[in-house]
């Protein structure tokens, strides 16, 4: 199960439910630093895939490559069957920091992706208010970011991510800066929301238990140079409750991943 994923390259039909297909994706920065060494993996429709590893393993680089924010220096990377070369409408990304605009209300921040496309209508506004409800921010539509707590700001960022209307959501340690309790609650809500909107999610984290709890599949990465060390399937049934983290099966999987990270870093 912990085998290194090696896909044979060459032209072949991409199965319908493959959302992301990475084949030997590489990123070497200008100074010659290898950030990511030949990563190959698939992400299927509706899957929750975590990208797990210590800092410097290239997990954020991998996510930015999928987002089309940086250019790869080798390999092939497709989303929905077409090459990723630039940011696209069917892929949206959320960052560790909420990056809300302090001069806009929560509602106007959520509407930002709409504003970039066109002038928001009344319906857009209603939908954005609905998204704020979905992320647990009923009655905070007109609050400004500085009047919201860190957790609430990240909920606004999540609603904004959903408002982009993308099917593939990339989350780069979205709750990493929050306290343990808030993070756990937001993780559970993220799972609930994913069930509700049937999104495909790639989720970067450095927390092994968090990755196992959330994911259908964990991409384990090791640093210097950043590489994909293993692809672990997580078999637990959904919906998952927090009690899962106390079961022997769960802990066995956590230990197994810890071994992979420990033995290779």
């Amino acid at each position: 199960m912990s085998s290194v994923a090696i896909e044979q390259s060459g032209p072949k039909a991409v199965p319908r439910d493959v959302v992301v297909r990475a084949d030997g994706v590489e990123k070497t920065f200008d100074g010659g630093v290898v950030a990511l060494e030949g990563a190959s993996f698939d992400v299927h429709k509706g899957e929750f895939v975590s990208v797990l590893g210590p800092s410097g393993c290239g997990k954020s680089t991998l996510l930015r490559l999928v987002a089309g924010l940086i250019e790869r220096t080798g390999g092939s990377l497709t989303a929905y069957g077409t090459e990723v070369t630039a940011p696209r409408a069917d892929i949206a990304m959320m960052f560790q920091r909420p990056t809300l605009l302090p001069w806009k209300t929560a509602l106007d921040n959520v509407l930002l992706p709409t504003l970039i496309e066109r002038r928001p209508t009344k319906e857009d506004r209603e939908r954005a208010i609905g998204l704020l409800r979905l992320t647990g921010l009923t009655d905070f539509e007109f609050a400004y970011p500085q009047h919201l707590s860190g957790g609430m700001q990240q909920r606004v960022a999540l609603a904004r991510l959903l408002n982009a209307g993308a099917d593939l959501l990339l989350l780069d340690e979205p709750f990493g800066a929050l306290d343990e309790f808030t993070r756990e609650r937001l993780n559970l809500e993220l799972l609930r929301i994913q069930r509700e909107i049937h999104a495909t999610i790639m989720f970067v984290t450095h927390n092994i238990a968090e990755a196992v709890f959330l994911s259908d599949k964990v991409l384990v990465m090791t640093p210097r140079p950043g590489r994909l060390a293993a692809e672990i399937d997580v078999p637990f049934a959904r919906p998952r409750a927090i009690e899962l983290t106390a079961t022997p099966e769960f802990n066995a999987l956590v230990l197994k991943i810890r071994d992979i990270l420990g033995s290779r870093s």
Binding site: R64, A67, G68, L69, A86, P87, R88, A89, I91, A92, M93, F95, Q96, R97, T99, L101, P102, W103, T105, L112, P113, L115, I116, T138, D139, F140, E141, F142, A143, Y144, Q146, H147, L148, A164
Partner: protein, 288 residues
């Protein structure tokens, strides 16, 4: 629940802070009266020559003559204020424009920077006689000098503000496929606004200095002319009254900038922000 959100972080305006405010006002008034009394005394008792330092009472009398009974001061006052404001506005347009060009185009920034440094290190007041030689004796040379003197802080603050755009937010805009124009309008410019306004506050005081310097070099109207004339005639109470009026003018311009700041950079003013939230929420509920 929304009330709780929008009032978070606001200072409690309780009785205690009221009492502190009153006691501070009393302290300020006491110090002010003491200083004025000492000044009046030092002139009355002949510690300082009346010719060199007019007494506060003499200054007030001179001010009353200039501002009220003869009203001679007002044309000069408004000419100087107009020159400073016009120079400032042109400085905002040119300084802001140059900064935007530098922020958006690294090659332009590279090529322009030696000239900007030269402009900064040259004592810009020294250009005043040259400007007068070019533009003559009307208001134009004063406006031009005011502009040149206030240009730099506006330019450098706008450039700094635009260049310190949050890298994560920039990446977020890129991931949303925002155009360069949208990134500028929705992210860079509003984000730079607090720093730009700080530059404008420095700039407006400098513009007033520029206008006065221009009037010193050559003019027939303006507060600079008036002060110069009264000083030459050793009418120091009148000269002090003019100086007092320039303080008032400086305050007017400064407070105008403060008001503008609280409108343009409302998110840095907690009270305005809370009020805005409430208003927007109310408007929404009314429409629904």
């Amino acid at each position: 629940m929304s009330d709780q959100a929008v009032t978070m972080g606001m200072p409690a305006a309780g009785e205690a802070s009221d009492r502190r405010w009153v006691s501070h006002a009393v302290q300020h008034a006491a110090v002010f009266i003491a200083v004025i009394a000492l000044w009046e005394a030092s002139v009355q008792f002949g510690w300082v020559s009346k010719l060199l330092l007019p007494s506060p009472v003499a200054v007030v009398i001179a001010w009353y003559k200039l501002a009220i009974s003869s009203a001679l001061i007002w044309p000069h006052f408004f000419v100087t204020m107009f020159e400073a404001l016009a120079g400032f506005l042109i400085g905002v347009v040119l300084g802001g424009g140059a900064a935007i060009a530098c922020a958006l185009s690294p090659p332009f920034r590279r090529l322009a920077s030696p000239y900007m440094v030269a402009l900064q290190v040259t004592p810009r007041i020294a250009i005043a006689p040259i400007i007068v030689a070019w533009l003559g004796f009307g208001m134009q040379p004063k406006i031009a000098i005011a502009m040149i003197i206030c240009f730099f802080p506006i330019f450098i603050n706008t450039l700094t503000g635009l260049l310190q755009t949050d890298a994560d937010a920039h990446e977020m805009f890129r991931s949303m496929r925002a155009s360069k124009r949208q990134i500028f309008r929705e992210l860079m410019l509003p984000g730079a606004m607090p720093v730009i306004m700080a530059g404008c506050k420095t700039g407006i005081s400098l513009a007033l200095i520029g206008a006065i310097v221009g009037e010193f070099v050559s003019a027939s109207v303006g507060m600079g002319v008036l002060i110069q004339r009264f000083s030459f005639q050793l009418l120091l109470p009148e000269a002090f009254a003019c100086l007092l009026m320039l303080t008032v003018m400086g305050l007017i311009l400064f407070f105008a900038m403060e008001v503008l700041d609280s409108r343009l950079v409302f998110w840095r003013h907690d009270k305005r922000l809370a009020e805005k939230s409430r208003r927007k929420a109310a408007r929404y509920t009314r429409r629904a």
